[in-house]
C-alpha cells in the first residue's frame, strides 16, 4: 500500500511517501505565496525520489496550517494528531513531544498507544517559534546554521529583556554596538526561546521520553538550550521536519482498507 502525507506548513511544505510502512520518498519546498503550486512541487520531488507517479499513490492526507489548501488530499488531520502518530511510529516511548516550526510551537502529551492526551500551542507570536531565531540571526548577520553553532561556544549569560522578536532585534543591535560578542548574544537568544518553549510545554507536564521535531530541531544551539533547560536528554529523529507529513501518511494508510 502506498500513501502520502502533505504537511502544509507556514514556511515550508513537506511531503512523505509511505510504502508498507517505509518512507520511500520525501519532498520539501518553501510554501511561498502560491501554496498549492509549492505543494505540487514538493509532491513531485517526493515522487521522483520514490520512482513513482501520482497515480501510484492510493490515498493522500494533509496536515499543517494550510491543510485545507492541499492538492490531491482526500482528508486532513490536525498537526497535533499528525505529530503524535508520526513520532509513535519511530519512537513509541515518547510521552512528551515538542514541535517547533517557523510560526508555531507545540507541546503534546502522548499516551502509550500514541494518542494525544493533551496539548498546548504557542501560536501567532513570532517569539514562540522559529521566526524568532531567524530574525535574530539576520540581525547578527550570520546564517541560521552558524547562529546555532556559535551559541555553543559561549558560556556567558546575557539577560535579554525583550520578549518580542521586533524589540529583541533592536536589543541585539544595541548589544552589538556595545561590542558584545556574537556568540554570547546567540546563546542568550537560544536560551530565551528554549525557556519560553519549556514553560509552555510544562502546562501539559513533562514526562520521559521527550522528543523534539520540526525545522527548529536542526538548530544545534536551540537543542542544547532545550536540553539544559529540561535537564534531560531529548530524542531528535532523523529528518525531524517530516514527522508531521509522516503522521498524515500513516493516517492515510490506516484509513485505506
Amino acid at each position: 500500500m502506498i500513501t502520502a502525507g502533505i504537511d502544509m506548513g507556514a514556511k515550508t511544505i513537506k511531503v512523505v511517501i509511505l510504502k508498507d510502512g517505509q518512507i520511500i520518498g520525501r519532498g520539501n519546498v518553501f510554501s511561498g505565496f502560491e501554496t498549492r503550486e509549492s505543494a505540487e512541487e514538493a509532491l513531485r520531488l517526493a515522487l521522483d525520489e520514490a520512482g513513482l507517479t501520482l497515480k501510484d499513490i492510493q490515498t493522500i492526507y494533509a496536515t499543517g496550517a494550510g491543510r485545507k489548501e492541499a492538492p490531491h488530499a482526500v482528508n486532513d488531520i490536525t498537526e497535533v494528531g499528525a505529530d503524535a502518530r508520526g513520532i509513535f511510529n519511530l519512537f513509541p516511548k515518547v510521552r512528551t513531544l515538542i514541535d517547533v516550526g517557523a510560526e508555531e510551537g507545540r507541546g503534546i502529551k502522548c499516551s502509550a498507544e500514541g494518542k494525544v492526551i493533551d496539548f498546548v500551542v504557542n501560536e501567532k507570536c513570532a517569539a514562540g517559534a522559529g521566526s524568532f531565531t531567524e530574525s535574530m540571526a539576520r540581525a547578527l548577520e550570520v546564517s541560521l546554521e552558524d547562529f546555532g553553532k556559535i551559541s555553543l561556544t559561549s558560556n556567558k549569560e546575557i539577560p535579554m529583556n525583550a520578549q518580542c522578536a521586533v524589540f529583541a532585534e533592536s536589543e541585539v543591535v544595541s548589544l552589538i554596538h556595545a561590542k558584545t560578542p556574537k556568540a554570547d548574544i546567540a546563546k542568550s537568544v537560544h536560551d530565551a526561546i528554549a525557556s519560553r518553549i519549556i514553560s509552555m510545554v510544562r502546562r501539559v507536564g513533562i514526562d520521559q521520553e521527550v522528543a523534539l521535531i520540526g525545522g527548529v530541531a536542526y538548530n544545534v544551539g536551540f537543542v542544547d538550550a532545550l536540553k539544559r533547560g529540561l535537564e534531560s536528554d531529548v530524542i531528535i529523529p532523523e529528518n525531524p521536519e517530516y514527522i508531521g507529513a509522516l503522521g498524515a501518511a500513516l493516517a492515510a494508510a490506516e484509513n485505506t482498507n
Binding site: N122, C125, N161, A162, Q163, C164, R196, R202, R203, G205
Partner: protein
C-alpha cells in the same frame, strides 16, 4: 485604581489586575506565588500596594504557566489567598 499588568500579543491577552482600592498590603499573594511574579511597591500616589514586578511583567504568560495546567483543576494561589479579592487574572 484598576492596575492592569501584562500584555496582549498575537497569542492572546495576559493581564493580572490589581485593584489598589481593595489591596490592603498584606503581602500574602507575594508569599504564595512560586515564580515570584508579584512585589510590593509604593505607587505614585503614595499607596503601598502589590504590583507585578518589572522583571516578570513582559513574560507573565510563561511565568504563570506552572499554575495554569492545560487540563485538570486550576487554583491560582495568589487569587486564593487574597481576602479582599484584589487580584484577578484575565486568562
Amino acid at each position: 485604581m484598576q492596575a492592569n499588568y501584562g500584555y496582549k500579543d498575537g497569542s492572546g491577552e495576559f493581564y493580572i489586575t490589581i485593584d489598589t482600592d481593595k489591596c490592603n498590603g498584606c503581602a500574602k499573594c507575594i508569599e504564595a506565588c512560586p515564580p515570584k511574579v508579584l512585589e510590593m511597591i509604593v505607587n505614585d500616589y503614595d499607596e503601598e500596594v502589590v504590583a507585578v514586578s518589572d522583571a516578570q511583567r513582559q513574560k507573565i504568560k510563561y511565568a504563570c504557566a506552572p499554575c495554569k495546567p492545560m487540563t485538570g483543576p486550576r487554583e491560582l494561589p495568589c487569587v486564593k489567598v487574597c481576602e479582599p479579592g484584589a487580584i484577578a487574572h484575565s486568562w
